[in-house]
């Protein structure tokens, strides 16, 4: 749970990968290659977790339910568990390459289809929440660093730390209790909403309010703290004195000179901590019954649908790794220092 770990400013020091020598092509190849290795590791881990670890898969799936030996044997054959382990691994990789993640044990549909259905609500929730959290975090972080030690700084940093210390799902439950009746408590849309686009959109937005607030509250803190410390490091820099000496107004010095430089580490962090956002999404979706991948993960673990759980694991982990490679590439475009070296 490294992402739930400290809102580290330490991760920052490591974040921008210093590249010496080699051109753009080499940089891109290295990053993409690294991403591919990570993806391969995810695939192997997905297999190891669900097939090799102690504990019989079949018994796990039947836990708490009566099972005849015949039913267990049938499921074993159906999942291909009667073959040698290496053969199983090859089969698994082969099917994965063809976009086949197996069939959900409970829903009786292909896992990938189920994940496809649930992808959009999660993208919507995570996308909106991350955007708001980044904007809020950057704004608060910039302001509190610029007015270091002021009341605004103390209060907003304190609030951020406190919110960061609270479990996501608890915050969600509190919000549910505090606003009882104002917002829908579960789902994406009401079933009786007219099917036209506008009414649907309004209803979805209405359902989204509480989950979004919860997710934003938990994730904005680290953007704020990192932006604050990153800007504080820039504060003493000579070029700011030069800018002031030129006669620039204070907010221009901040906007044009200090903030762009302080922004870089924060941008990397947005991507580096996507795993943390996903963790938040799992619990938020569970509390608000938001029909996305997080709720699907929770359902899969509740009913011990291992093929489904394996599928969500591979897809979520793969998505995060993909985004990180993207971040590395973006970083090169954003930071001239990385490009020049």
């Amino acid at each position: 749970m490294s992402d739930i770990l400290t809102p580290t400013e330490d991760a920052l020091a490591e974040a921008p990968p210093p590249t010496r020598g080699g051109g753009a092509v080499r940089y891109v190849l290295m990053k993409v290659g690294g991403g591919l290795i990570s993806l391969a590791l995810v695939v192997v881990l997905g297999f190891l977790l669900f097939r090799v670890l102690p504990g019989d898969v079949i018994q796990t799936m039947f836990r708490g339910r009566p099972a005849t030996p015949e039913a267990m044997a049938e499921l074993r054959t159906q999942l291909g568990l009667d073959k040698p382990l290496f053969q199983q691994f090859l089969d698994y990789v082969w099917r994965l390459l063809h976009g086949d993640l197996g069939e959900s044990y409970v829903y009786r549909v292909p896992v990938l289809q189920k994940i496809g259905e649930r992808l959009w609500p999660t993208l919507l929730l995570v996308g909106v929440a991350t955007t708001i959290a980044v904007a809020l975090g950057l704004w608060l972080g910039t302001r509190s660093a610029w007015q270091r030690g002021s009341r605004f700084d103390r209060v907003s940093t304190g609030v951020a730390l406190a919110l960061w210390s609270t479990p996501t799902f608890w915050l969600g439950m509190l919000l549910l209790g505090a606003t009882s009746g104002l917002f829908p408590t579960a789902g994406l849309v009401n079933s009786d909403t007219p099917p036209d686009f506008f009414s649907q959109a309004v209803d979805i937005a209405h359902h989204m309010v509480l989950p979004t607030i919860t997710l934003v509250a938990v994730i904005y803190a680290q953007y704020q703290l990192v932006m604050r410390s990153s800007l504080l490091e820039e504060m003493g820099a000579d070029y700011l004195t030069t800018a002031r000496a030129k006669g620039l107004r204070d907010d221009l010095v901040r906007r044009r000179h200090a903030v762009p430089n302080a922004l870089l580490p924060t941008v990397t962090l947005v991507f580096l901590h996507l795993g943390f956002v996903i963790a938040g999404a799992v619990t938020v979706e569970t509390v608000f019954s938001w029909p996305g991948l997080g709720l699907l993960t929770y359902d899969a673990l509740r009913i011990r649908d291992l093929p489904l759980l394996q599928g969500t694991f591979v897809v979520l982990a793969g998505a995060v790794i993909f985004m990180n490679v993207l971040a590395d590439l973006l970083y090169r475009v954003l930071d001239p220092r990385v490009r020049a070296s």
Binding site: L45, S165, P167, T168, M173, L272, L274, T286, L316, V320
Partner: protein, 300 residues
Amino acid sequence: MTSPSPRALAWRRRGSAFAAGWRQFASQRAGLIGLGLLVLIVLLAILAPVLTDREGLDVTKATGGRMEPPSGEFLLGTDRPGRSVLLLTLWGARMSLTVGFVSTLLSIAIGTIIGILAAHYGRWVSAALMRVTDFFLVLPSLVLAIALSTVLERGVGTIILAIGLTSWPQAARLVRAQVLTIEARPYIERSKALGGGHLHVNTKHVLPAVLPLVFVNTTLAVGSAIVAESTLSFLGLGDPDPTRPSWGTMLRSAWLDSAVIAGAWWYLLPPGIAIGIVVLAFTMCGRALESVLNPRLREG
């Protein structure tokens, strides 16, 4: 009179360094408040069997009504089977703190070993280890922890394992960076020149030098581990035994018992506030410790 032995000198030096560190720590109010809170909570958790009766946790012997609001008899009301929420929160502290500490120790141990190995040994070991570390660093660890706890036997041990095995990468990176700077120092070269092997250099010189950093990292990580425990327990992966509550399992039963809809705030607030206070206390302590070690972080 003979001069003191090198060992005694070393200990005297450590003693004075510790005293100086403590003075620096004590000069920070937030750190002191955090430490005070932690001492109080740990004491309460340790003394729970002395202060209270374990019988009260037994669902069959519960004396209160169903989700009763706070009263003179039950200061924080009761849960659904009629047990005192105050008692549950007190006993929950034992479980949550234990999981927090043990899983952090596990993760820090893994992180320290990998960090030292990655920095000490040559390019290939280092490259491979850091590749794996980076992989685990970006992996959505809650999802990994969920997968781990699902395939393993349900219970505290599994939760500890799941948190420990997923939260070590940051410690590994920190330790590696620190070891790299330490290994560049002359005394390590001297030790190697005198014939110190890998094991000797690492355990006698490198490890003691990174320990303070590891200690700070532990303090900061326990809070996160406690939040992680509550999340996994909330998702239903915690200890199923109702007489061994943690703050996470309490929140799960509050949720399953629809405490939110019933307006039973006394059931919902105490475990959550307890988690918040403990995590905040660890964070305040950790930040104060960090600034003791890193003068650049000091204010003013």
